[in-house]
Symmetry: C2
Subunit: 198 residues, 2 copies
């Protein structure tokens, strides 16, 4: 059986997605072949539409279909508190809590000398100028608890402190529902250090 070029280019497109390997890409491409005509059309249209209509908000970097995102132009939100995230997707997790009413700032990555990502590659200047113009009182740095996330958080904290803006970091500790048996030493150490009075 010769390879079908259109099928193969569909497999290639799927394989470019994160976390999709060669086998899964084939499985997904086959499922498109077996899809209803209208579902496939809708899928293709959804990709084109999303790419054409959705773009990062020029102020904070969240995705939006309008000029600025609805977090930035919502006067009922607290514009003096800002959560800083590495990627726009991370902000979504906070929004789902329905418990945070401040604004966001997307860095667009994390500092990583080994990958050649310095402060120039991230939206750090924009964060500082927003901090002044919007009058941030507190900036919560919500980068991942990894080496790169930590480095970026410390770097940002120092810059913010120079401007006399409070910088905070998400708490470390045991995830809710976790089992002490399975907690790694570092997490346990942090949970102990950060213990709270009852």
């Amino acid at each position: 059986m010769k390879e079908l070029p259109t099928y193969q280019s569909l497999v290639d497109s799927f394989a470019k997605l994160p976390g999709i390997g060669a086998k899964t890409a084939e499985r997904l491409a086959f499922s498109v072949l077996e899809m209803k005509e209208e579902d496939a059309k809708q899928f293709a249209q959804a990709i084109e539409d999303a790419k054409a209509k959705v773009h990062p908000c020029p102020v904070c970097g969240l995705y939006t279909e309008e000029e600025t995102c609805d977090v930035c132009h919502d006067p009922s939100r607290d514009h003096s508190t800002c959560i800083v995230v590495a990627k726009a997707k991370d902000a979504l997790s906070f929004e789902k809590l329905n418990d945070y009413h401040g604004v966001y700032h997307v860095l667009g990555g994390l500092l990583s000398p080994s990958k050649g990502i310095g402060e120039g590659e991230l939206k750090i200047d924009q964060l500082l100028s927003r901090a002044k113009s919007e009058g941030f009182k507190e900036v919560v740095i919500a980068t991942n608890p990894t080496l790169e996330g930590e480095t970026t958080a410390l770097y940002l904290a120092r810059l913010l402190q120079k401007e006399r803006i409070e910088a905070s970091r998400l708490a470390y500790g045991l995830p809710v529902g976790a089992n002490l048996d399975y907690a790694d030493a570092l997490t346990l150490q942090r949970a102990l250090k950060g213990r709270k009075k009852l």
Copy 2:
């Protein structure tokens, strides 16, 4: 943050794919937003092209971009041996061996009274008429070794034997490289039953 309708419809499209849950669909939709413009266009185009150009071969059911598939219209292949598979994708695994030179027949599923799939839903009549018109000498039934796959294989074997066509089944046994410790009892039993002289 309000939900973005175009983003949401992209998430929905991804979530319709097999094995893609809600979280993964979101991750994939985000990766499309972060894709290069041309990659996204290519992806959408690939879906439309695949759906428009690729269709099942009217003879055997393999996917093709031409009138009939290249296995069916290849005179150098052995048209007296036919592998019967449940889905077109299964044939791909045999083609990748580069070791089988017969033809294929796609049933389009497996007999399953509980799911309401009877012989009328599968391309069984077409298999029998091909067996006569193309002069099949051997039909290798390569359905999955599951209850439904077995039932379908036995059913087909009886029909074929009535027409005096040899029906065979893929061998059961230990997968190459497997560990005896981890083999289930049924597989081990079949491997013992099917033992071969050295």
